[in-house]
Amino acid sequence: MSIHVRYFASLRETMGRMEERLSPDGLLTVSDVWKAVHQGQTLPDQPLCAVNMAYAKPESPVQDGDEVAFFPQVTGG
């Protein structure tokens, strides 16, 4: 199993990839997931984040099998 990480819009372009899968070892929160793909950097106010398609906070817990998404401010409508 793994944690499925997804990126959208401008963040997807910045990251150069739309998704990746991480080992859940040592990843307890959304912030941990961000740090794992950003060389330990703290998750800033932006991007927004979601766990299993529901808005989440940096301290929201994650577990094996979760889908974690990061994306910029939304601009629909």
Partner: protein, 148 residues
């Protein structure tokens, strides 16, 4: 709440007519309908915009729109609701979003539609990328939802 995400252009007035004529609609059991129709402009920030790419988060988009409708309904009761939103490639003049609510009286319908519009703008995971001449760029924020 009926939610539709469409990849091709649609006529909001034809869609509304079909929605109101459907057998499961309210018949005469409502006194007010309030509608919002958002259309793609051919300009933004003083520059011509030739087209728009509208990205979304499949799955979360539908969930968030449903959640928004349920939350609004708790404080502003309405009988039926409709949200239609385009995704993908959009041309100037295309309808992007159609939001409608039907209720017994005008106050609930007008307020519910307005609340859904603002919540969608701030929470539903859609992102616009504008094509301006040879350049494209992501829209970074919404325009204000009220006038002063």
């Amino acid at each position: 709440m009926e939610i539709q995400l469409l990849e091709t252009p649609y006529d909001p007035y034809a869609l509304l007519r079909d929605f109101e004529m459907a057998p499961d609609h309210l018949g005469s059991h409502f006194g007010a309908a309030s509608l919002f129709i958002g259309t793609m402009r051919d300009f933004n920030e003083g520059e011509a915009v030739e087209s728009l790419w509208l990205e979304h988060y499949p799955g979360m988009t539908e969930r968030e729109l449903q959640k928004i409708a349920e939350e609004v309904r708790q404080t502003t009761p309405f009988e039926r609701g409709l949200i239609v939103h385009r995704v993908g490639h959009i041309a100037p003049g295309d309808t992007i979003v159609l939001i409608g609510t039907w209720s017994c009286h005008r106050a609930e319908a007008m307020t519910a539609t307005s609340k859904i519009v603002e919540a969608l703008k701030h929470r539903a995971p859609f992102w616009k990328k504008e094509q301006r001449g040879a350049k494209s760029h992501w829209v970074e924020k919404n325009t204000p939802g009220s006038v002063t």
